[in-house]
Symmetry: C2
Subunit: 445 residues, 2 copies
């Protein structure tokens, strides 16, 4: 990460770029339908968008990975079963309600799949359902069934942008990434990330469509591999949604000339979408990229990187453009303990070998900090250039994002060299801001 | 937890209660000295307090446990060695600078111990050092040596309150708890917790003094046991300080009539101090108590409880007096995964057996939520009664605590029954508030 380092001078420029990314691969159609409804559990008017992705012909070649949360939503439970089915013909996504631990949740999801199947001439078992939104509430099944014909009528083969917009709840902007292959095939992905102003769980949904013919088993192995350096290497706030889903579907219209090149494209698209999800994370004003090098084990390297991007005190310091490197060392020391580097003697050996950088500047080596006032000023400047927008004191006490698109793709760059091997890992996270607290504490009651 | 449920009508009432708690056991003296200095790494005036705890005669009977962070401060490294020494005669604590990963940090701590020893007629090896404050900065050794005679001159045998006040940085109030035994012996403990307005690491330091004669090995075994349900069952923000220290020292002046009764008193004092630390945690407006029951393993129960009190989205919901129980289930589902309950089938079985309560009201059973608008109102009222103070929009954007003492000891009560055994665990944590972010992001740069 990242494959790009974009700077958008305006929201309009960002929109033009997104539209250019969004051309659909052959063999797919996308349509959405929006409707008003009243949730049973909280009787006030709300709005839901259904996003329908259909294949012109069902395919054997699809793959998906799901949340590891022990309490998955009904669509995730069904989705795991769909992996055993011979063919997939459509994906149906709703926002607003996640259908997790709701009474009769499974029957509700199956009813929606059945109706999609009827409309498209497919068995229900060829339809993959996804839901995101409030946990515990019930899907408005009748209203969803009534709206499905409109989603079908809206199907078009030009752009995935309606899906990118339809699956979000209150993400600030739609997220689309693509790769074009030399033989005319393409891969395009959309993500719904962690940006909600309702006090809900921030689910990640990712759909990747390609017309390149990659056989089912190869596709599944590739997806398992590429989620590790991408979606499994990010964390907004260490929480794990009950609905997280990443699916990739091939329509098989274009020959695959090189499986390795396809996997590399899939990896890059996934890493870029993962970075988009972090950059639009709840309240994120700084994206933090931690590159761990010199590890003896890649899993240990990633675990240590995650300990840093999940350390609240360090995240707060970054939010304040404060190069509080003591908190970085504390987070590494805690991460080293949980990543089973051992403590005591091993911790001391690790400390001696450790070399830390921020913005490329050495801040720790030979077991002690390497700090001076000039470095501190340089570090503050590094933090400021990576800020997405300035925090502003709101008149009503509710902090809100200062932009509705990311003006740049710069990160706070943290380097952690363990001096103990040649394994590496890169992880991405966000800072901890008033905007995060406002999004998650200030909107209800 | 807790042994008490105090309500303080005023700060003055709280101070009177503290003074009554603070009588020193026989054989101990406490003195402090405050002085101005200029840190080498950040040249602006600062102030440090030295807290000296001395025994009238050195004792063999002392115990201590330290942080598990892999990068402990120099005083922790020395403290671990002190456990091998034959006798302990004094404890010297400084605030402001934690002496972690600072050049020549060990020599600095040893120089302070040597001077304390000279003043009190002890070898340096009989002096336990502790430091809390900024990580990475160097101790002002010359100024500390010069101030030590004043700390010695201030030694008195009446009250531990000067120590409770001297070890804090910007905790809102001193923390003292005691137990009086029937035969005239006593146990008194002080804690410095997680409440700092400098952007530092929130170290926990706890010193427990008793005149009851408990042999060294018994004392050490007891301490290892009682830290589990007390200090190892709390979390403000999942970070692990590089300086955490809990020490217990006996002057041996009063016979111990019942080791079991002493251990129980130690457990209660430690649990109460642990709760005090949470209640004065950075930005904490609600203390959350999670009682996990019906577990097949106590460690698993505690791990699951910690997953809940460390889940940022749930913590934010509590801050907003928002009974967002979906986030509670998400946190349990994630905790169940990491606490190795397994996923998939095991997760489904767990979900069927799970019974959740908040404020005593059932909110989840039989695998689904049990919610209605009346329950929601009751839950909001439960959250509000546990609030320590109302959050107020500050004119300068920097949120501050609304009180300087805890007006009550009420908690947000969460019950998690796993229906799978007879093991239990209770953990305490705090909410995630604008006051936390302000304390950790808004004060520097």
């Amino acid at each position: 990460m990242p494959s790009t380092d974009l700077v958008f001078p305006s929201c309009a420029a960002h929109r033009r770029w997104l539209a250019a990314q969004a051309a659909l691969p052959r063999g797919f159609r996308v349509g959405t339908a929006k409707f008003a409804f009243t949730p049973r559990e909280a009787p006030k008017p709300s709005e839901m968008t259904l996003t329908l992705i259909s294949l012109d012909a069902p395919t054997r070649d699809f793959a998906a990975v799901f949340t590891r949360n022990a309490f998955p939503g009904a669509p995730v439970v069904i989705g795991r079963e769909r992996l055993q089915e011979r063919e997939l013909g459509a994906i149906i996504v709703n926002n607003k309600i996640s259908n997790v631990c709701a009474p009769e949740g499974r029957a509700a999801a199956e009813a929606v799949c059945t109706r999609v199947g009827e409309l498209l001439g497919l068995p229900a078992s060829a339809v993959l359902p996804s839901s995101t939104g409030v946990i515990g509430w019930s899907l408005p099944v009748e209203e969803m069934l009534a709206a499905l014909p409109s989603a079908k009528a809206a199907l078009q083969a030009d752009s995935i942008l309606p899906a990118a917009q339809g699956i979000v709840t209150t993400d600030l902007y739609p997220k689309v990434r693509r790769h074009d292959f030399a033989n005319g095939g393409s891969l395009v992905g959309v993500a719904k990330g962690a940006g909600m102003i309702e006090p809900n769980l921030a689910t990640m949904l990712v759909y990747l469509l390609t017309d390149v013919a990659v056989p089912r088993e190869a596709l599944r192995e590739m997806l398992r591999r590429v989620v590790e350096p991408s979606f499994n290497s990010i964390s907004i706030d260490s929480d794990t949604s009950t609905s997280d889903t990443v699916a990739v579907v091939s329509s098989g219209r274009v020959a695959c000339e090189d499986l390795g090149a396809f996997e590399e494209a899939l990896r890059v698209v996934c890493c870029d979408l993962a970075e988009d999800v972090v950059r639009n994370g709840e309240g994120v004003r700084h994206v933090i990229r931690v590159a761990v090098t010199g590890a003896s084990d890649a899993g240990q390297a990633r675990s240590l990187g995650k300990a840093i991007i999940n350390a609240p005190l360090f995240k707060c310091a970054v939010a304040g453009n404060d190069p509080n490197v003591g908190r970085l060392v504390q987070a590494i020391g805690k991460g080293a303990e949980t990543a089973s580097f051992g403590t005591g003697g091993v911790g001391a050996a690790l400390m001696e070998r450790l070399r830390l950088t921020m913005g490329g500047i050495e801040i720790f080596s030979d077991g002690v900090f390497q700090l001076d006032p000039q470095k501190e000023a340089t570090l503050v400047a590094h933090l400021k250039q990576a800020e997405l927008y300035e925090s502003r004191l709101p008149a009503d006490g509710i902090y809100r994002a200062g932009v509705d698109y990311p003006p740049h793709e710069r990160c706070v760059e943290v380097g952690v060299d363990l001096g103990a091997g040649d394994r590496t890992a890169t992880v991405l996270g966000g800072d901890l801001t008033h905007e995060y607290v406002s999004e998650n504490a200030d909107y209800r009651s």
